[in-house]
């Protein structure tokens, strides 16, 4: 309740000021807070980076100087995204995103479906990636900061099956992310609404 009062006050402040200094950590009914925005872009940039890195790993020659470092980075960053995603899901459950901007019902449903699939594919990609490297009971070393242990059980040919799923889920994830980005650009340039700017923290929607 307090949150909403604060947000309402916030909207009475001048645009420029409110944009940077008065944006709240948490979402309100019409705008995203810093928490949501940072988590969104953190994960976005991580998966945009990890996908080509993952494809590159497949092409590495045994004598490539990066043969050991690139998989290590890929796994470490991937493992960190698991934590970011858990945090993001909790954040989202505890802190409702702003109401969707007006658009035809059909587009609203499509957007919702795409968002749901992005979450599902992200979870699938992360879990399958984890299952590849931990299939023999080894833990995953995250930048030599800490280790994520393996599950106490494994299934037959786990690394192969998880590997297939990892590739297809990641490819689907990056594909739907691209559609998601195109849709955001369509909203910005064609519909001229604040879909993109409010996720870039560039817009404070007046109530």
């Amino acid at each position: 309740m307090n949150i909403q009062c604060d947000a309402a006050n916030n909207h009475q402040v001048g645009y420029l000021q409110s944009m940077v200094f008065h944006r709240k950590l948490i979402n309100d009914q019409s705008s995203y807070g810093w928490g949501h925005i940072l988590l969104h872009w953190l994960i976005a940039f991580a998966i945009i980076g990890l996908y080509p890195l993952g494809l590159y790993i497949e092409t590495l020659d045994y004598y490539d100087p990066a043969y050991r470092t690139i998989p290590y980075w890929h796994k470490s960053i991937g493992a960190l995204i698991i934590f970011a995603l858990v945090f993001r899901v909790l954040w989202r459950v505890l802190n409702k995103p702003p109401a969707p901007l007006p658009q035809p019902e059909r587009m609203k449903q499509l957007a919702k479906l795409a968002h749901l699939m992005l979450y599902a594919l992200l979870i699938l990609t992360l879990v399958s990636g984890y299952l590849i490297s931990t299939a023999d009971g080894r833990s995953i070393e995250v930048f030599s900061w800490f280790n994520i242990p393996a599950l106490p059980f494994a299934f037959d040919n786990q690394e192969d099956i998880a590997g297939e799923i990892h590739f297809f889920a990641a490819t689907a994830l990056i594909s739907i992310s691209s559609l998601h980005a195109l849709a955001a650009l369509k909203h910005h340039f064609i519909d001229k609404d604040t879909t993109l700017t409010r996720m870039l923290a560039l817009h404070e929607d007046p109530q």
Binding site: I132, S133, A135, D136, R138, E159, D160
Partner: protein, 190 residues
């Protein structure tokens, strides 16, 4: 109907009592008294070892007539295990064994030449969709009654394979062009 059955039975029993010059053994993969291990040099600095966990097979052997020995083995290539999941995934992938295309490997012997320690078993190995003749250096380990009413015979063998000959061309370096298979085969007489 009954006549046919009796005829069939007679034929079957005639076949089963037909004189065999060599005793038939089933490889004890069930009790895991048999293993197919490999080793390959890692950069010339050490031996990397692993094994194929799942395989079945049978052999014929008679100490009186060793030249008549023969063996058939079918290996589940997907059971490749080097105790490192990421490496296993790589080796089972399309740069090496490509197990989704070639899940089975088989060995069928063609001849056995006895010598003092055991002999040389030649035969056709089908791996990675390619069939090549290989030679296994065989040493007899022993044979005799087991404590549970059965009779067993066991051998060990070594094979040198060149993955490149089978079409696996991924470069692991000059020290790693040969893979050595170490075989331990115990059979239970049928």
């Amino acid at each position: 109907m009954k006549a046919k059955f009796i005829k069939g039975l007679a034929l079957a029993s005639a076949l089963s009592v037909a004189p065999t010059y060599a005793a038939d053994y089933v490889i004890d993969s069930k009790g895991a008294h048999a293993s197919i291990q490999f080793r390959i040099s890692h950069l010339g600095t050490s031996w990397l070892t692993g094994r194929f966990n799942t395989f079945t097979g049978a052999f014929s052997y008679d100490a009186e007539n060793p030249a008549a020995s023969s063996v058939n083995v079918e290996v589940d290539v997907t059971s490749f295990d080097s105790n490192h999941a990421e490496r296993d995934k790589h080796i089972k992938g399309d740069e090496f064994l490509d197990v989704s295309k070639f899940p089975k490997a088989t060995f069928k012997s063609t001849s056995f030449t006895p010598n003092e320690e055991g002999g040389v078993m030649k035969g056709m190995l089908t791996l990675y969709g390619q069939t090549k003749e290989i030679a296994i250096d065989v040493q007899k380990v022993g044979e005799g009654k087991d404590p549970w009413g059965g009779y067993r015979a066991g051998f060990s063998g070594t094979v040198e394979l060149t993955p490149k000959d089978f079409g696996m061309t991924y470069n692991l370096g000059p020290a790693a062009e040969t893979v050595y298979l170490d075989l331990n085969i115990e059979g239970i007489r049928q």
